[in-house]
Amino acid sequence: MLCENCKEREATVHFTEIMNGRVQKHHLCKECAAQMEMMGYASNEVPFVKLLTGMLAAGQTQEQGENPLQYVRCPKCGMTYEEFTRVGKFGCAECIDVFGPLIGDHMKKLHGSDTHTGKTYTKEKMQPETKQEQEQQDIEALKLRLKEAVMLENFEAAAKYRDEIKALQAKEEHNA
């Protein structure tokens, strides 16, 4: 078999690439394979992402029958589990809460860790004016969640949101 890249030399390197959940077989000669490995990095497509989508896709095909994860969906940006496994990218800040628990093990394999140890960021670092705006926004977000919880008759969660709102409002009045 000839190398699919140069179409001159005999293909001696055979590999299967799982990219974005699609399986592709490649046949290359030694020279072209070595070149591709170097140049592959030149493109913006980090091999990491390929690895992640590959792992997720492999996990999916192993599941027998209906996969309950197909119903998982990020409430903020609408990213579905199927889309996430295909593109291997987050759609918003809340995706980490939705998909994070599903990829913890993969993150460990990719990064060698699943916990951030570097520079930290807290709301305390915000300027006072922006911080107040931020807290106001948090209250609005909590009110929405409270409404949703009441609608779903999840009263335990509703009570939690109510208390959090109260605490934030009390803090605001205290600051004012």
């Binding site: 980090v46 091999p47 992640l52 940006c77 291997g88 990218k89 990719l110 860790s113 709301k123 915000m126």
Partner: protein
């Protein structure tokens, strides 16, 4: 004020630049993949409005893609002010410091990309600059941050520190000895990746390589910098050993190559991009090793010519669209006008 690519920094014989890039997202907007055009405009507008009033941004130049010609954006990419990803966006903006060593890109793969360059091997100072700007931005715009996963990014490969650290190195001796692929495989074991900055088809042109970290989670910024710096120092040593061997064993052939390259650069009337890079690589080696000298041994950073001969920059100079042949003619003229004289 000289820009980073117009000067030779520490270990400048081999290391061209040190670059730190931080990826940050705003908590309240969807990330790029799920950000529609109206929201992208809104995000850029809000970020720009908050940033342009900061004292740190006083001397920064603010740009928005809708006000830039395509060739201007291309030239910015060639000078590494903006990334190839930003260039591919239809809606984008940002801020650049006057000497272009700091760049803040808005609506890249992440909402905010902070980039700091320094000439030569000087990663600590590049990080200090990026870190300071990060603090300033984080104080006025709420970042997406998770206690477990750190700074949240579009790509899971960037979460944690959101930091990518890259050294750009000139490695002609390693390349001529076919050592590059071996090194690339070797440093992979340390979570690093190497790629050729300029390539012609499947081959590298100009022997310029970039070495970056891949892992961003579970390591501190300091550890990341120490790890990559340590490895790059070893690569620098190997390159120097091979350069010395070349100078000892093949001095005349090496000198001949450098002077021939100089001759073509000085007198050719048409130069392709690939030839330009290959010839300038020879000259850079000659100057770095003291095999050829500028008058008064004045320091001259060849890398600025490698940027200067890129097509976007040449088109900017010509102030008109150029055909491929016209570009080659323009390139030869640019080189003649900017080439340092050697003794």
């Amino acid at each position: 004020m000289l820009r980073w690519f117009e000067q030779n920094g520490p270990e400048g014989d081999v290391v061209i630049s040190s670059r730190v890039r931080l990826a940050r997202n705003l908590k309240d907007y969807n990330f790029s993949l799920k950000l529609d055009t109206p929201d992208a405009h809104k995000m850029i507008g809000e970020a720009a409005q908050k940033l342009r009033v900061l004292p740190e941004f006083k001397d920064f130049h603010e740009y928005h893609f809708e006000n830039l010609e395509e060739v201007q954006r291309e030239a910015m990419k060639e000078r590494h002010v903006i990334s190839p990803f930003l260039l591919s966006q239809s809606v984008a903006g940002g801020f650049v410091s006057s000497n272009e060593d700091l760049s803040i890109m808005l609506n890249e793969e992440d909402h905010i990309r902070i980039q700091a360059y320094r000439a030569g091997m000087d990663m600590e100072r590049a990080y200090e600059a990026a870190d300071h700007i990060d603090d300033c931005i984080g104080a006025v715009l709420p970042y997406a941050y998770d206690t477990q996963y750190g700074y949240l990014t579009t790509c899971p490969s960037n979460v944690g520190t959101g930091m990518r650290v890259s050294y750009m190195c000139h490695l002609p001796a390693l390349a001529w000895n076919n050592k590059i692929q071996g090194i690339a495989a070797e440093i992979g074991r340390f979570g690093l990746v190497m790629h050729s900055v300029y390539s012609d088809g499947n081959k590298s042109a100009g022997d310029i390589y970039q070495i970056s970290n891949q892992i961003t989670l579970g390591v501190t910024e300091k550890e990341l910098i120490e790890n990559i710096t340590n490895i790059v120092q070893q690569i620098v040593t190997q390159e120097r050993i091979l350069r010395n061997r070349l100078k000892e064993k093949q001095k005349i052939s090496v000198l001949d190559g450098i002077y021939r390259s100089y001759g073509i650069l000085k007198y050719a009337r048409k130069v392709s991009l690939k030839d330009g890079l290959v010839l300038l690589s020879q000259l850079r080696l000659g100057l770095a090793e003291g095999l050829v000298k500028t008058p008064d041994e004045r320091d001259y950073a060849i890398y600025q010519l490698m940027i200067g001969i890129q097509p976007g920059n040449l088109e900017m100079l010509a102030s008109q669209e150029l055909t491929e042949e016209e570009t080659d003619v323009m390139r030869a003229q640019f080189i003649r006008e900017n080439l340092p004289s050697i003794e």
